[in-house]
């Protein structure tokens, strides 16, 4: 606590909007109690934007709920330590006090505005619920950048785009003139071009309404764009806390270094293996003693395993403290940061121009009829004349925002969605697909071994040969053979995506279709899955069609990039050409909105 509270607020008035002292929270899930937060100290100054960055499971969302006093009672939370928002004790406060604080001092923006807005209520009324005044609601709606607020006042949430919905959430959040806005992954569900706008909006709201913001995100670059300070959360503790430039350019904790290095950008070397964090190998018990990161830390020493490092200032004391919880010296950590090249080199593979193309799509149109109640029928023209030829052995990235038709194109190629007109020709071997959400693409009640074995059934190989092939597939994706006996729910997200990859490639297909396979994964896991796809592609000389919304991923995964919007291909070409000299305005706007933190200093 001592050092954290000394941190001077960055801007705005004096004092603090909220403070967290020695916060421990344990929650119960399925009868098992786990310590989600393990001693968090943090002060949020008035008018300050604090970015709370962590991977899934770091406890960042629990911290947000705790600040709101909204921890689910079903999880039987046990809280020690103190949370104070505008002087009110959130941990011990009465329901009445909490309600008052939430009404007068707190605003909240959740990840998915579709589920946090009431779908049966016009958005204007939802804003008015907080303002109690029509004129004020209109004023707020225009303040958050909604054009024609009078008109939009009367629509339902589903009639708005994701970005506009998030703006409505923001209008509601600032309606009570809060001193603190908690934004939990406010941009994660949005397209990249909208993301930047929503982040700007948060900063504008801070300036206009003079409130503090806690921005919770898994992406250091998102926090870097608008935050004053960043707290990096790992396994329920703050690993490092400092100003944005300190964290992004002078990271003093090996975990922050790892996060930064595994982050993909438009500068990531294409010909090298992507850097990843070491996978978790320790048991939960091991992680709970000493530094939680020691089982994965490349710099771990004996002391890390037994003694928990305190969050304290290293180096020269400065006005805004840069705190870190690590036993190693700052020099050691910075050396790690500078040694930042992937080891093995990915050799460019040869494209087989002579062979027949792996995929040939011609004049593809796909229309869906959406029945929207009663006799109203709405037609969606998802693909409007797509032509695409992919040579055998080639990798093509398809980039576009939601609704661009990129996923529909993959599904039509896979044969999951019928084409309205046009043709799709595949080379022998057919298509296999890796889905965005590996969890839901694996049958939950079958074991991994059974799922893989089913793929081999048509070959009629016999039990012994099947087992050999399954073992080989598991080895190739870097999972222990014992995984064959467990179910998908027992694996982590990254492991599930690996299994999905193994299933798709254990009989090499003519083309591997990847539908945003890493967008639901933490940065480091995503990088390791991308590495695996690239490795497999090399080994099996596989053709890959890789759909993504992220240009930096598209750049790494493809030989060519195809940009789609509104069901059409608007730009296509070799990766370097598209990235460096985008010709279509849409590509240019996509490029401009890639959040970036610059090269590590």
């Amino acid at each position: 606590m001592t050092s954290a509270s000394q941190t001077a607020p960055q801007r705005g008035g004096v004092g603090e909007a909220a403070s967290i002292e020695g916060l421990h929270i344990s929650l119960q899930r399925d009868g098992v109690r786990s310590n989600v937060l393990r001693g968090v100290n943090l002060t949020i100054g008035r008018g300050e934007i604090v970015g709370l960055v962590g991977e899934s499971g770091s406890g960042k969302s629990v911290l947000a709920l705790a600040l709101l006093g909204l921890l689910p009672s079903a999880a039987a939370p046990e809280i020690t330590g103190a949370i104070r928002v505008a002087g009110v004790d959130i941990v011990h406060g009465s329901a009445e006090e909490l309600r008052t604080v939430r009404r007068d001092e707190l605003g909240v923006i959740f990840q998915d505005p579709m589920t946090s807005l009431n779908p049966t209520m016009r958005v204007g009324r939802q804003v008015t619920e907080s303002t109690h005044d029509h004129a004020e609601a209109i004023r707020l709606m225009s303040a958050v950048g909604i054009a024609d607020p009078e008109l939009r006042f009367r629509v339902f949430p589903h009639e708005l785009s994701g970005g506009l919905r998030q703006r409505i959430m923001a209008a509601i959040a600032v309606a009570g003139r809060p001193s603190l806005i908690i934004a939990d992954e406010p941009t994660t569900a949005l397209d990249v071009t909208v993301q930047a706008q929503v982040l700007d909006l948060l900063r504008e709201l801070r300036d206009e309404f003079d409130c503090s913001v806690v921005l919770i995100t898994h992406d250091l670059a998102v926090a870097g764009q608008i935050a004053d300070r960043i707290a990096v959360l790992y396994a329920g503790r703050i690993a490092e806390l400092g100003s944005v430039s300190d964290i992004l350019h002078r990271p003093n904790h090996p975990y922050t270094v790892g996060l930064l290095r595994s982050r993909l950008s438009l500068e990531t070397p294409r010909d090298r293996e992507l850097l990843t964090l070491r996978p978790e190998t320790g048991s939960p018990g091991e992680r709970m003693t000493g530094c939680a990161y020691h089982t994965r830390c490349p710099l771990a020493i004996d002391r890390c395993a037994v003694e928990q490092p305190p969050l304290e200032q290293g180096g020269i004391p400065a006005a805004d403290a840069h705190l870190r919880a690590c036993w190693r010296s700052i020099n050691d950590v910075q050396n790690l940061a500078h040694h930042s090249q992937g080891d093995s080199v990915v050799t460019p593979r040869t494209r087989n121009e002579a062979a027949a193309p792996a995929v040939r799509v011609e004049g593809l149109h796909t229309r869906f009829v959406l029945k929207s109640g009663g006799r109203k029928r709405r037609e969606v023209h998802a693909l409007r004349g797509v032509d695409l030829t992919v040579q055998a052995g080639e990798a093509v990235s398809i980039v576009g925002e939601s609704g661009s038709g990129k996923s529909t194109l993959l599904r039509v190629i896979a044969g999951l969605t019928p084409a309205t007109s046009g043709s799709v020709a595949l080379a022998e071997g057919g298509a296999q697909m890796v889905f965005q959400d590996a969890g839901s693409s694996l049958t939950p009640w079958l074991s991994i071994g059974e799922l893989l074995r089913e793929r081999l059934l048509p070959l009629r190989l016999g039990d012994a040969e099947n087992r050999k092939r399954i073992d080989k597939a598991l080895v190739s994706i870097g999972l222990p053979l014992s995984v064959a006996g467990v179910r998908p729910a027992d694996l982590s997200g990254g492991q599930r995506q690996r299994v999905a990859l193994a299933r798709a490639t254990m009989i090499p297909p003519a083309v591997l279709l990847c539908d945003e396979p890493t967008s639901a994964l933490d940065a480091s896991l995503a990088a390791s899955v991308l590495n695996l796809i690239r490795e497999m592609r090399q080994e099996l000389t596989m053709t890959v069609l890789f759909v993504t919304h992220d240009l930096s991923v598209a750049r790494l995964m493809g030989d060519r990039i195809v940009v789609m919007t509104q069901g059409e291909i608007v730009e296509a070409g070799p990766v370097n050409e598209v990235i460096e000299h985008p010709s279509h305005p849409y590509t240019q706007s996509l490029l401009a909105s890639v959040p970036d933190i610059g090269v590590l200093a």
């Binding site: 399925d30 009868g31 098992v32 896979a414 044969g415 999951l416 057919g430 298509a431 296999q432 697909m433 889905f435 959400d437 839901s440 693409s441 694996l442 049958t443 939950p444 009640w445 079958l446 089913e454 793929r455 059934l457 048509p458 179910r487 729910a489 999905a500 299933r503 798709a504």
Partner: protein, 288 residues
């Protein structure tokens, strides 16, 4: 949560998560055990029953608590405990049989409709709607009237009107699971259609089917008792809960225990079945 329930679930091909026990679910678990106890009592009724339920074995209209006759005797000296136990056996297994039949017929129709969709779906579901539109109890009575009075015909009568409910529920569940990505992934993996249905869709329907069926047992117990009260069940000397109540109803004011004993047994059976259904739902939902 325990390893043994997981193994049991795997044997049954059920999602393990469905059987995981929550620490706070001990009450539900106890109620499910009660359901098992009723089944054991019904199973062993002929062994437990102290007397032949059809023979006159003691004094007439002995009150409950009499020596040798725990629940008393009826107007012709038959042991009420023995009659009730036999009656429970008939009611309980007949109800289970009807629910199981409904589940199987409805399950097959619902699965076919859900998997194939299109015109077959339309045909099967309109046929189902037709049956749903008929007043079930009346149709059952009509069928018994046509086929003749017997327990067997009563069961046939109820079974005929009992499946449409299941067909609807299972079709809906099959369709929702069939639209999930894991089924698409299985299709892409080149797995045959029957295998997809059996391995990738139906196991997901099992929890819903079990919960729906267990909540339904109580209804059937009541319906059966009601029909046999009206005289559409076992013929005269055989013990049956509804019929026994009806036959001795004129004794209600003089020897209340004679009609009330089988009546209370029906009440308890139906209550336990409903609580059991609720408990099963709680247990299965705790991890979904």
């Amino acid at each position: 949560m325990t390893a043994s329930t997981n193994i049991a679930a795997r044997r049954l091909g059920l999602p393990t998560s469905a059987l995981r026990l929550h620490a706070g679910n001990r009450l539900s678990f106890a109620i499910v055990l009660l359901l098992g106890l009723v089944t054991v009592v019904a199973l062993l009724a002929r062994v437990i029953a102290p007397y032949d339920p059809i023979q006159s074995v003691g004094g007439l209209n002995l009150p409950p608590g009499s020596p040798d006759h725990l629940l008393g005797t009826d107007a012709i000296g038959r042991d009420l405990l023995s009659r009730t136990l036999w009656g429970i056996q008939v009611s309980w297994f007949a109800s289970l049989l009807i629910v199981a039949t409904g589940l199987v017929i409805g399950g097959v129709i619902g699965t076919l409709a859900g998997v194939f969709g299109g015109w077959l779906d339309n045909l099967l579901m309109r046929f189902t709607d037709l049956f749903l539109a008929l007043p079930g109890t009346l149709v059952a009575i009509a069928i018994v009237a046509a086929l003749g009075y017997s327990l067997q015909n009563t069961l046939i009568g109820i079974a005929v009107v009992w499946w449409p409910f299941y067909a609807r529920i299972i079709r809906g569940e099959v369709r929702s699971i069939a639209a999930r990505p894991h089924v698409e992934a299985a299709r892409l993996a080149g797995i045959s259609r029957p295998r997809i249905v059996l391995r990738h869709i139906l196991p997901g329907v099992v929890p819903t089917a079990i919960v729906t069926a267990s909540l339904d047992i109580g209804n059937v117990v009541l319906l059966l008792a009601g029909l046999s009260f009206l005289g559409l069940g076992q013929s005269a000397p055989a013990p049956e809960l509804g019929a026994d109540t009806a036959r001795s109803l004129q004794q209600l004011l003089s020897q209340w225990w004679v009609p009330l004993t089988p009546g209370i047994a029906v009440l308890l059976l139906s209550l336990i079945a409903n609580l059991g259904g609720d408990a099963i739902r709680t247990l299965m939902n705790s991890k979904r």
